[in-house]
Symmetry: C2
Amino acid sequence: MRQAILDAAEGLFARHGFYGVTTRQVASEAGVDTALIHYYFGAKRELFDAVFLRRAEILNSDRKASMDAYEAANPGTMTPLGVITAFIDPLIERSMTGGTGWKNYFALVAQVNNTPAWGGETMHRFFDPVVHQLVDTLKRAAPEADLAELYWGYQFLTGAMMLALSETGRIDQLSEGLCHSNDLEAIRARLYRYCAAGFEILIR
Amino acid sequence: MRQAILDAAEGLFARHGFYGVTTRQVASEAGVDTALIHYYFGAKRELFDAVFLRRAEILNSDRKASMDAYEAANPGTMTPLGVITAFIDPLIERSMTGGTGWKNYFALVAQVNNTPAWGGETMHRFFDPVVHQLVDTLKRAAPEADLAELYWGYQFLTGAMMLALSETGRIDQLSEGLCHSNDLEAIRARLYRYCAAGFEILIR
DNA sequence: GCGCCAATTCATCATGCGGTGAAAAACGAT
DNA sequence: ATCGTTTTTCACCGCATGATGAATTGGCGC
């Protein structure tokens, strides 16, 4: 039941945002009574945090493992492209093989990422450690790089990555069917190179 | 009064999103009666569209002028960096010199851009022509480029640009004060090069 | 079969929501 | 000063919201 509620809430929050969803909708979607949500999670905001946390933990350990593995396999020969790939690829992989739940989750994170009021604080709470690991690893891959450039590089990377992962369908409409926002192989084939090239030019 | 309502609504929508704001809050912030909002704009959603449209028109003519001017000044010698700069710079310029209203507006657009439910449709309605002009101009600057790469390049560019413009404060916290999300000169000095480098690698 | 505790339902509360229509006030042209 | 129009205020409607607490159900050890 907990999982069913989380799944329903995840999908709805992803589509309509925190304030665009009522606890009654969540309950109805999950096929449970409204009071059950409060029984399990307390206030609406705590439900949201529970949704956010569930996959954040998985994601963080995914990414940590991926970056650790990359560094271990390439001691002294790391490249920005390699580090960035290790940082992003776990998300692409989850989105491709994880089903609807993961896709909803990425759309949710993309929204939170662009929410000024409490989005920054939320991202900070759940994702800061792994981002610091990215910056540290990039610093080792490019020791001559200025630290500020690493942070700006991450800022641009995040924006591009999260919009791509949220699959809004906008590129489909814009390109009149030539490109598809759910074509993750196309994203994978381009996003890493795009971000790495941008990063290289910043530190040069 | 119309303008006061639009300003208040703009700020609140930017911070909390469409559903996170009540017409009463807007009225209170603008110092008017609730009924006045409906008198001027009708339903809440129409108020939102009015907010969105007001600066979209200005932005679209800004950008069109900027790209036209660039193409006129560099016939046959256009570069992707030049085109991208002409596309983004009007927004940076407005954000730097336009005051709080414009900053709120960009935060609002960033949120809409990442809203799956109706964000794509909204962006489409208000911004498609100028994006098509970007793609067309890029195609002339790099005739050998595959069209799909242009669209993907735009997708990544938009994500990076809108997150940077929305000034969420996240980079401040992340970099522990080294970088500031409201430092638009820093963004200007980096974003164009970042996106152009990414774009170049896609079409190569 | 009983007792216990967690899980689930039900009825309901106080509040705030978007929206409306009539009355009142402010304004401008004559 | 008067009238007609535009703008603003006021009182209110019907409804949905988040949340609560009491009552009910279900499963499991004994």
